[in-house]
């Protein structure tokens, strides 16, 4: 009796785990689990420190203050000008999911004893300017740890996100973005006696070299669910 | 000696405008520098004031070589060279203030004072572009006396003035010498002006100094004297003197008989008229600078 009970239990558990595994190849289900992490966040604000290192592009280190309020209010405040990587601030499933994309489960793998799922997000209609997106989801804590964007004309972008646990939420601590661009920014010289009025015209139509660059984003001073007022999102930029 | 030139000369291209000029001016004199147009008067004055470089020769002011000590000597000189050109967009006071600054500074009081002397006090704030020619000429003299110089050099100071203006300038010049002890060096082609104003003179023609000295002494040494006689019957007097051999010329102007004769002939002429019953109310000896000048200039041209 004891032996048959043991065997039955093993069979049931195996069937259950097979079922589990099968259900874990459902990309939507995976992303729903990730999204569930953030559903409890009504609003947040965070200081974002940006460091850009791309050839022929220099920008001073920037600090921005980012505000978010459900469902989709976002405000970025900074003095002057800043460039922010697309999808770079808080890559949640909501950022990628809409009716014009289709999800596909690519594969799963283990790295450093952590299981990962890779999901592709492709536009339903082929649009040359839209990237093919690959998300690497951490199956342990259900966070998107890596986002890979492949643009046909431009090149690839790879974002690696390191998380910190704050008040029970897994929130980005550092995001390092690697760019592999097919065309760099041309090395336009300052105005000089050869080209008194400067300008980029000399580079028009000329292919420039591919370039690899980095953007590092560090997140500090997170405030979550503090009851952000709508007025914050209506203020003028400075 | 306040001014001395030694063989001062200036050549423009092939033409010598001034040749071997040797002038001597003593303190207290009103020295008239006389000559026809183009004689070299302005060129001489421009050389003296370092506006033009001499081709050869030298000049001294106050016993000092003017070339080496120009700033020091110019401090004691006031000058008006030809037409006075000021900064038309500035007022008289501002023009004088700026010029005074270059000479070591000048007070507002002094500016008002000199403008009072030249009778421009009530136009002190007006822009010079609104001044008439006569007013600008007077302002020119004002700037020449602004820093109380010892020597005042005036180049044709009455050019373009009306008779009233000429008289005013003449009286001012005499007053500056007599009352303020200034030495005046003035150039002119107007004989009457020199005759009435100057104590000494030099005559220049074709760039060369023909003669210089005290006006009275120069004229005394010549025959060119005129005696004006005011009497009751000038016509009859002229008729009486017709055969007088020592008389060069007799002219009649209203009731005045003008007799051109040497000085020493005058007593006999007067006696003869009296003997003929004429009533003489005045005898006024005058010199004829015009004749003297013309004779000299013609003689110089002849040479």
């Amino acid at each position: 009796m004891k032996r048959s009970l043991r065997i039955t239990t093993i069979i049931i558990l195996t069937l259950l785990s097979v079922h589990n595994l099968k259900s874990q190849t459902d990309p939507r289900a995976i992303l729903d689990k990730v999204q569930a992490q953030y559903d409890a966040i009504e609003d947040y604000q965070v200081s974002v420190h940006l460091n850009v290192d791309i050839k022929n592009f220099r920008m001073p280190n920037k600090t921005m203050r980012v505000y978010f309020k459900k469902p989709d209010k976002v405000k970025i405040k900074t003095s002057g000008f800043a460039i922010v990587p697309r999808f770079g601030l808080m890559p949640t499933p909501a950022t990628f999911l809409n009716d014009s994309v289709q999800l596909e489960y690519v594969r799963s793998f283990r790295e450093n004893a952590i299981a990962y799922h890779v999901i592709s997000v492709q536009p339903k209609k082929e649009i040359k300017t839209s990237p093919a997106i690959y998300l690497r989801v951490n199956a342990q804590r259900w966070t998107i740890d890596r986002v890979q964007l492949e643009y046909q004309q431009i090149g690839t972008t790879e974002m690696d996100i390191v998380y910190q646990n704050m008040a029970g939420f897994w929130l980005p601590e550092t995001t390092k973005i690697l760019f592999d661009l097919k065309h760099s920014i041309p090395p336009v010289e300052r105005p000089n006696i050869d080209r008194p009025f400067g300008g980029m015209e000399q580079y028009a139509g000329n292919d420039t070299q591919p370039v690899r660059g980095y953007v590092t984003i560090t997140f500090t001073n997170f405030f979550i669910n503090k009851g952000l007022k709508d007025a914050v999102f209506e203020e003028e930029d400075y | 000696m306040i001014l001395r030139t030694v063989n001062l000369s200036k050549r423009f291209g092939q033409r010598w405008a001034v040749t071997d000029l040797n002038l001597a001016v003593e303190p207290g004199q009103i020295f008239g520098f006389l000559g026809p147009n183009g004689a070299g008067k302005s060129t001489t004055i421009r050389m003296l004031l370092a506006l033009i470089k001499p081709s050869r020769g030298s000049y001294e002011f106050f016993g000092q070589d003017a070339h080496r000590n120009s700033a020091r000597v110019l401090r004691k000189i006031g000058a008006l060279v030809e037409k006075p050109d000021f900064y038309l967009y500035l007022s008289a006071a501002r023009n004088l203030q700026m010029l005074g600054e270059l000479s070591g500074g000048v007070s507002r009081q002094r500016i008002a004072e000199v403008l009072e002397i030249v009778k421009l006090r009530d136009r002190i704030g007006d822009k010079v572009k609104n001044y008439s020619h006569g007013m600008r000429q007077r302002l020119g003299i004002a700037q020449a006396i602004l820093n109380d110089p010892e020597l005042i050099i005036l180049d044709e100071p009455t050019t373009g003035l009306d008779p009233v203006g000429i008289k005013e300038i003449r009286e001012l010049i005499v007053s500056l010498a007599r009352d303020f002890g200034k030495t005046i060096f003035l150039s002119s082609h107007l004989l009457h002006e020199v005759e009435q104003t100057c104590t000494h003179m030099g005559i220049i023609d074709n760039g060369r100094l023909v003669v210089q000295g005290a006006v009275h002494d120069l004229l005394k040494a010549t025959d060119f004297f005129v005696t004006e006689i005011i009497l009751d019957d000038p016509e009859r007097a002229r008729a009486i003197l017709t055969d007088e051999t020592r008389i060069d010329k007799i002219t009649l102007a209203e009731n005045v008989l003008k007799v051109h004769a040497p000085d020493e002939a005058r007593p006999e002429i007067i006696a003869r008229l009296v003997q003929n019953g004429l009533k003489i109310s005045a005898v006024i000896p005058r010199t004829s600078l015009e004749d003297y000048y013309l004779a000299l200039v013609q003689h110089s041209d002849g040479q």
Binding site: I54, K55, N56, F57, R58, M59, P60, I76, T78, S79, G80, F81, A82, I83, V84, P85, R86, Y151, I154, T157, F179, L181, S184, I185, P186, P187, V188, E189, R190, P191, N192, I193, D194, P196, F197, G198, M200, D237 | R46, A50, L51, I52, K53, S70, A71, L74, I77, V81, E82, K83, D85, Y87, L88, Y89, L90, M98, L99, E101, L102, S103
Partner: protein
């Protein structure tokens, strides 16, 4: 020395008492607010072109179309257009005295000719500095006021974005350097002005030299490389150097030194000419 300072002050009074001096100031005072207002209303657009290659990977926060960017582009007038205001006054400084006959008044005072010409030259520099800094003040001040502040986008071996505070310091340096570069223009006009009694000649002559020099400097003919170092406009780009990162102090120093040589040469020729000149007017 004291007399030179006094005389310079008097020369500045003369310069700033003439209506022509204010043509440059008035033009700047009218055009710059107009340009800034137009940019505020219709935008700039240039930065969008330059950043196009990044546009697909990045989103842009804030705008680079601010008053500092417009001010930076306005500095291009310093090559050829702005020098007109410099020559208008510098070409008149000496010639007008000859034309009006006021040399006689000035030089019969106890001041040496070298002191006279030096004071006039210093006054010309004073005017040049004043109008260049006025342009800087108007363009940056009105730019910040009308269009707004922010980071400055410049080209320097690619794209360089400078923070506002950093950019303002660089603008100050750039305009001080530009004043020295424009002084080379002023010195040339001044020299021509010493040779004539009519200011039209020096003004047109100097401007013609600038335009022809720019053409010769810019044309890509190898044979012309030989004369380029002798054209003072070849060193005009010094006023854009403060916007490089790092600031090329060595290059700036060399360019300023070369401009100084031109300035002193033009002044030296002016002085010799004036010292020997017979004042016949």
């Amino acid at each position: 020395m004291l007399l030179i300072i006094k005389a310079t002050k008097l020369e500045l009074i003369k310069i700033f008492s003439k209506w022509r001096t204010y043509i440059g100031f008035a033009t700047v005072a009218v055009l710059i607010p107009l340009i800034m207002w137009l940019v505020r209303k219709y935008g700039f657009g240039l930065e969008n072109q330059a950043l196009r290659s990044l546009g697909d990977s990045f989103e842009f926060v804030g705008s680079l179309a601010n008053g500092l960017l417009v001010s930076y582009y306005l500095m291009n007038v310093l090559w050829v257009h702005f020098p007109f205001f410099i020559v208008l006054v510098a070409g008149d400084v000496m010639a007008s005295e000859g034309a009006s006959g006021t040399y006689r008044l000035w030089l019969t005072r106890p001041i040496g000719r070298f002191q006279v010409i030096t004071s006039k030259f210093l006054a010309t520099f004073g005017y040049t500095l004043a109008i260049v800094l006025f342009m800087g003040l108007c363009s940056i001040g009105l730019g910040l006021l009308i269009v707004g502040g922010g980071d400055l986008f410049v080209f320097d071996k690619g794209i360089l974005i400078l923070s506002q505070g950093d950019a303002l310091q660089r603008f100050l340096l750039a305009y001080l350097i530009a004043a020295w570069a424009q002084m080379a223009v002023a010195a040339l006009a001044f020299m021509f002005s010493t040779w004539t009694n009519n200011s039209v000649g020096p003004i047109i002559g100097t401007y013609a030299v600038i335009v022809v020099s720019m053409i010769l400097a810019v044309i890509k003919i190898p044979a012309l490389e030989i004369i380029r170092p002798y054209l003072f406009v070849s060193y005009f780009d010094v006023f854009f150097m403060p916007f490089s990162d790092p600031i090329p102090w060595g290059e700036i120093g060399v360019s300023l030194l070369k401009l100084t040589v031109f300035i002193l040469t033009f002044f030296g020729i002016s002085a010799v000419s004036f010292l020997k000149k017979d004042i016949c007017t």
